[in-house]
Structure formats: structure tokens, C-alpha cells
């Protein structure tokens, strides 16, 4: 009989090779604070974590030299938290992380010029992706510099208004491997630049030409690209029927076409565009100037077999048109008719009857629809995953019972401003995969209905109860009990909510967004409960909660280290509370208008203390009370100011004025 030796290991981690430790670290990465505490345990762990991490999102550009020296394997650098990135910072990035860097995001940063970009492009030989959107001052010289990054595959230049055809031409000639190019809003670029791109960069798969002053001429070259999958032409007013007249193409790879808001594009032009796109899957024709009638639908003939998603938001559609689309395009999975106010029961029913595979339907603001349509949808489309029907107020309560019964696979449901009642919610609670539920301005629901949801929908992550005044603490606690994965909740203007709700919501440890405007019964105690247990809290709206004061904010400042956005207008917060927010490193957006406890020096201290602040919404009177040099300094640091003057106009809450209007009409 052998005696089994007890293997006693004093330092188990010594046995593991680096790769095995990396596998373990990958699994911990879900939770950044865990990763942080891992790296602080001992030197060996610290080094392991330094070798493991590949993507960085620094809070301050000043720390870049130290951070990059520690993390030598950085391949993704996201600088969207750093409003000021100077040429020096870019040269540091190039020098330290040059060989390993693959992707850089500079879309929210300023203060760099062509010189800094040159260092980056030359040293980062493996740079594959760069986001330079919003560089409104960038000129062609900088574009020529970017062209030095020869391995570039994905480039975003949205809103770079100063770029012209010359700059784009340089990029086209230098970066031959480009697969994804976004030139949205680059209003200086025309047919010539786009044509050059199409001719030189043959690997392009995705091209965003939204809002460019191009005409159909460049599209002749663009559609010759043999790998083109996605073409976005939103708002291209120059693309009209005449320039597309002689277009003959055979772009079999095209999967997505966005021709929304092209005011001069009619059925003729569209037919030319779609002529060779036999494999088109997604078509976006929102805000089209033509009427979607039977005639118009016939232009979709070529793509009818392959089409899976169509978007006709804001278009005027006729029943004949909808019927024709339903008949032709049987494989449609997604249909969007948001704000198509002319849609009738007849048209919609004839459409959905034919679409057995329908997964997503958007009929927001289709006010003429009644229970008939909903019944038809429920009966014909059992595979429905998303249904958005905000403001379909003619739909009766009974129709909602059918939705829950038949469409069991629903994940997203928007029932804002509808007549649904507790029975309807009971039926919906049988949709166990439901993750997003919007019940704003649903005046007929009470705690009973919410308790059904709490019991049935355990996967719920988003709940909107804006102005659903029938809700009290009981309803909220049943949701908190049943929906452990809740991430977003809006209980604005639910006047009966008290601190009890907040205490029960603190159980939801994944909570990220909490909006409770206009709740007069919640106090700092409730806020503290949430701050302590919901570590991921990122967005907080406490406007018009008069009992929120400094003690709640002090707790928040200590515990909520992930807080990015906070609204404290019309609360009882004073200088002390506001300044304590400076303890939160990543706070980016503070809104505090009309709080009488604030003084100019307190606000100044708070603004200075929050190093990463990007937006500050303050009362207009402070503009003259704060020293102008302070405002200049903060703006140079990257903070934008919004000055609100409430005495002049009552703040327009878009959904509320509609309610008031309905009250006034007899």
C-alpha cells in the first residue's frame, strides 16, 4: 500500500506560467476594481498585471508617460477622457508604445497638431485604427501626415470640416489597406476626394459619406469596389436622380445602404442605386421625400429576396405601399416605421401578416393604430424580440394581454404613453427574456402590475417609469427583489417614492443609471444607501429633490468612484457637498442650476477640483460672478459651459408639455 504524499505548496502561483496567469486575469477583467486589488497584492502580481493589460483608458493625459512605461504591451489607447492631448503627449505615446500600439482614440481630445500626429504615425508602425473625429481645426497638412501610417485599416474623420479633397487624396494614396473610412460631415470633401479613395483603396468594406456635398458621380467608382459591404449616404443632398441616371453596377457584396434624408433622391434614383445590389440586407430610407406607395415599393424588387431590415422613419407611407412591401420582402426581420403618422391599421396589418420572421418592429408615434394592429402583430409574429410603440394611445388595454401571451421571446418593449394596465403587465411578465421595459407616462399601472414583472422578468436590466404616478415603494421593492441585474431605472416625478425604494434598489449591485427627478420624498439617507452598495453607479439625476443635501453627497464622493454624470439642480446642496465631488476622479458632467446654497467661490473650487470635467451646467448669473480668467482656464482644460437662465423660460420637458396640451384640449 502506497502512502500518498501530501503536496504542500507554499507559493502556489509560482508554479503557474505567465500564460496561465493571463487566462485567470482575463476572467477577473470583468471587474476593474478586482484587477486593481490583484495588482496591489505583491510585486509579482503587479508585474503580471502590467504584462497582461492591453487596453488603456487613462483619466488624465499628464499621467501618460508613467502609465505607458508600466504597461508595455498596450495595443489599444482610448484617450476620450483626456480633453487636452498635446503634441508632446503624442510623441511620448509614439516613443514608448510605438511598436505595440494598434488603436488610438482621439475623438474627444484637442490641442494636438500635425507635428504630434507625425510622431505617432512614424513610430507606431502597427497602427491599424485611429479615431480623429471632431478635430474641427485639422487641415490637409495633418491628413498628409496621417498617410504615413501605412498599416492603417480603420480611420474615422467625422466632423473634420477643414479637410478637402487634397487631404483625402493623400490618405488614399498612403494608406492602401484601408477597410473602414468615415468622412461624416467632412463638408470640404467632394466627388474628387471620394473618387480617389474608391480608386486607390480597393479593400474598403465600410464607407460613411453622410452629409458630404457629393453627387452621384463618385458613386460610379464607389460601387465598383468589390468588397464594399456598407455604404452610408445620409443627408447627401447632392445625390439625385440625374447624377445616378447612368449608374450600372454589380455590387454583390453590398449589405447595408443608408440613403436617409437624401432630399433629392426619388424612386428613379433609388432604383439605379439598388439595381446591382442583389444581396442587400439592410436599407435605410428614413425621411425620404417621396411617398412610399405601391409605385415606390416596386423599386425594391431587386433586393426583395435578400432584404432583412428596412427603416422608413418619418416617411409618408400608404397602405398599398406597406402591403406591397409585405408581399415582396418576406424575409424581413426588422421594420421601423417610427413617426410615420399616416400608418393605419389596414396598412400595418397587411404588412405584418406576411412577415413570419419579424424580430424587431418600431411603430413609435403611429397614432392612428388601434388594438386591431396589435392583435395582428401578436398573432403573426411569434418570434418578435423588440417592439417599440410609444404614444400609440388609441390601443386599448385588452390588446396588451395578447402581446405577452403570444410573443414570448420579447427582450425590448417600449410602451411609453400607452393605456396599458396591471393585467397587461401580468401578461407581459411571462416574457422571461425581457431586458428593457419602458413604461413612462403609463397612468393606469400600479404596484400590482410591477410585482408581476418583478416575479417574471429576472433578466430585466432597464426600467423606465417616468411620470407613472401610480407607483409607490411597494412596486419598486418587488422589482428590486426580482431583478438582480437591473442597470438603469428612471422613477422621475413618481411623487410617492420614498427612501424605502432606494434602500431596496441598493440590492441591485449592477445599477449604473438612476434618475429620480422631482421626487420630493427622497432624502440623503436613501442616496447614501445606493452609493454604498451600488459600486458601478455612473449616472445620477436628482434634480428637484429638495431634501438631497450635503450628507448624501459626501457619502457619494467617498463610495461612488465610477460616477460620471450628476444633476443636482434645485436641491439643497451647498458648497461643501459640491466640492466633495472633486474626490471622484472620473466625473465629467455636473449640472447644478438654481441651488440657493451655492456661492461663487464654492462653485469655483468645485470646478477646479474636478480635473476631468467636460460639461458644467450652471446658472447664468454665475457667469458674471466667476472670474473670467477662471472660466478661460477651465475651458482651456477642456470643460464646456452651459449657462441656464430659468427666469426667462420654463424648461421645456418634451414629454410633459404634450401631457399638459392634452389636459387643455377638451
Amino acid at each position: 500500500m502506497k502512502k500518498t504524499k501530501q503536496i504542500h505548496i507554499s507559493k502556489p502561483f509560482d508554479l503557474l506560467s505567465d500564460e496561465l496567469v493571463f487566462i485567470i486575469l482575463d476572467l477577473i477583467s470583468q471587474n476593474p476594481s478586482d484587477l486593481k486589488s490583484f495588482s496591489l497584492t505583491c510585486k509579482w502580481f503587479y508585474q503580471a498585471e502590467s504584462k497582461h493589460r492591453r487596453s488603456l483608458k487613462p483619466l488624465r493625459a499628464e499621467y501618460l508617460p508613467r502609465i505607458l512605461s508600466r504597461y508595455r504591451n498596450t495595443s489599444d489607447l482610448d484617450l476620450t477622457f483626456c480633453p487636452r492631448v498635446t503634441d508632446y503627449a503624442l510623441s511620448v505615446v509614439g516613443c514608448i508604445s510605438g511598436p505595440t500600439l494598434q488603436s488610438v482614440d482621439l475623438s474627444r481630445s484637442g490641442s494636438f497638431s500635425a507635428a504630434g500626429l507625425m510622431r505617432l504615425a512614424l513610430k507606431c508602425v502597427n497602427l491599424v485604427e485611429i479615431d480623429l473625429s471632431n478635430a474641427t481645426e485639422m487641415r490637409d497638412a495633418a491628413a498628409a501626415v496621417i498617410a504615413e501610417a501605412r498599416s492603417l485599416e480603420r480611420i474615422k474623420l467625422g466632423r473634420c470640416k477643414m479637410l478637402t479633397d487634397m487631404g483625402i487624396g493623400c490618405i488614399a494614396v498612403g494608406c492602401r489597406k484601408l477597410t473602414m473610412v468615415s468622412l461624416k460631415w467632412c463638408v470640404g470633401v467632394g466627388d474628387l476626394g471620394v473618387g480617389l479613395l474608391a480608386v486607390k483603396c480597393k479593400e474598403i468594406r465600410s464607407l460613411d459619406l453622410s452629409y458630404l456635398p457629393i453627387t452621384g458621380k463618385c458613386l460610379h467608382d464607389v460601387l465598383k469596389l468589390s468588397h464594399l459591404e456598407e455604404l452610408l449616404l445620409e443627408g447627401c443632398f447632392g445625390v439625385d436622380d440625374d447624377s445616378l441616371k447612368s449608374l450600372r453596377h454589380d455590387c454583390k457584396s453590398l449589405k447595408k445602404l443608408d440613403a436617409s434624408s437624401c432630399q433629392n433622391l426619388t424612386q428613379r434614383g433609388l432604383t439605379s442605386l439598388l439595381s446591382g445590389a442583389r444581396c442587400l440586407q439592410r436599407l435605410d430610407l428614413a425621411h425620404c421625400s417621396s411617398v412610399i406607395s405601391l409605385d415606390f415599393a416596386s423599386s425594391l424588387k431587386k433586393v426583395s429576396a435578400s432584404l432583412q431590415s428596412i427603416r422608413l422613419d418619418g416617411c409618408s407611407v400608404t397602405s398599398d405601399g406597406l402591403k406591397a412591401i409585405g408581399n415582396m420582402c418576406n424575409s424581413l426581420k426588422e421594420v421601423s416605421l417610427s413617426k410615420c403618422v399616416s400608418v393605419t391599421d389596414e396598412g400595418l396589418s397587411s404588412l405584418v401578416m406576411k412577415l413570419k420572421d419579424l424580430r424587431k418592429l418600431d411603430i413609435t408615434c403611429c397614432r392612428k393604430l388601434s388594438g386591431v394592429s396589435i392583435t395582428q402583430i401578436a398573432s403573426s409574429c411569434p418570434l418578435l424580440v423588440s417592439l417599440k410603440m410609444e404614444s400609440c394611445s388609441l390601443v386599448s388595454r385588452e390588446a396588451f394581454w395578447l402581446i405577452g401571451q403570444k410573443c414570448r421571446l420579447l427582450e425590448e418593449l417600449d410602451l411609453t404613453d400607452n393605456e396599458i394596465d396591471d393585467e397587461g403587465l401580468k401578461s407581459i411578465s411571462s416574457c422571461h427574456s425581457l431586458s428593457s421595459l419602458k413604461l413612462g407616462i403609463c397612468l393606469n399601472i400600479t404596484d400590482k402590475g410591477l410585482s408581476y414583472i418583478g416575479m417574471g422578468c429576472s433578466n430585466l436590466s432597464e426600467l423606465d417609469l417616468y411620470r407613472s404616478v401610480g407607483i409607490t415603494d411597494i412596486g419598486i421593492s418587488s422589482i428590486a427583489q426580482g431583478c438582480a441585474r437591473l442597470e438603469t431605472i428612471n422613477i422621475s416625478y413618481c411623487k410617492d417614492i420614498t427612501d424605502k425604494s432606494l434602500v431596496s434598489l441598493s440590492k441591485c449591485s449592477w445599477l449604473q443609471t438612476f434618475e429620480s427627478r422631482g421626487c420630493p420624498n427622497i432624502t440623503s439617507q436613501g442616496l447614501a444607501a445606493i452609493a454604498v452598495r451600488c459600486k458601478r453607479l455612473a449616472k445620477l439625476d436628482l434634480k428637484k429633490c429638495p431634501y438631497i443635501n450635503d450628507s448624501g453627497l459626501l457619502t457619494l464622493a467617498h463610495f461612488s468612484q465610477s460616477l460620471k454624470q450628476i444633476n443636482l439642480s434645485d436641491t439643497a446642496v451647498t458648497d461643501v457637498g459640491l466640492v466633495s465631488l472633486a474626490n471622484i476622479g472620473c466625473i465629467q458632467n455636473i449640472s447644478v442650476v438654481n441651488s440657493s446654497g451655492l456661492s461663487p467661490s464654492g462653485v469655483a473650487a468645485a470646478l477646479l477640483g474636478c480635473g476631468g470635467l467636460r460639461k458644467a451646467k450652471l446658472h447664468a448669473s454665475l457667469r458674471s460672478l466667476l472670474p473670467p480668467s477662471l472660466i478661460h482656464h477651465l475651458e482651456a482644460r477642456g470643460c464646456a459651459f452651459l449657462w441656464k437662465d430659468n427666469t426667462l423660460q420654463a424648461e421645456l420637458d418634451p414629454k410633459y408639455w404634450k401631457l399638459q396640451l392634452e389636459d387643455n384640449v377638451p
Partner: protein, 113 residues
Amino acid sequence: MIVLKSSDGETFEIEEAVALQSQTIAHMVEDDCVENGIPLANVTGEILAKIIEYCKKHVEGGGGSEEELKIWDKEFIENIDQSTLFNLILAANYLNIKTLLDLTCQRVADMIS
């Protein structure tokens, strides 16, 4: 039947289907070097026994439903001490048994969290 020999001389005879869950052993079987049994110099008898227990449960087709397997995995991984856990990680890596490697690493990750 395949014979496995641990580093401390213990031999284990197991069915081919059970052994083939290890990619390393599967390659050896393909290359036809299994006549005299497979020597595993990096794995001790105790650990090998545990691995065989796991593989027997996870053989294709047997073992029960997904839910039952998950519960069994949970019990399996919670009843072993730290040193055995780390040795299992090394052995699962050497023998290239992906599911066991994932299970053990997840356990360590959860312990750290």
C-alpha cells in the same frame, strides 16, 4: 483501453473516449505511440486520479443533462484544496483539456474577486 502512467509510477486504465478529451493524448493516439501506455512525467498519481474522475463524468453522451453537469462541476471544484487546484491547472494545461482548464481558472478568478 488506454493506459496512463503517472510520474510516481501509478498506472490507470481508462476507455479511449474518456482519454480523448485530452488533446495531447488525442494527438498521441493519432500518431500511434500508445502501445506501452502513455507516460505522463508532469502529473502525479493523485492529480491524475482527479482528472480521470472529471473526464469520466464529461464523456460525450453520458453524464446527464447540462444542469446536472454544472452542479457536479461546482461540487467537484469546491471540494479540493488550493495546492490540488493549482496542480490541476498545470496538469489541465499540459494535457490540454480546455473545459477543465476553464473551470479551474474560473475558480481561481472567483477566489481572487
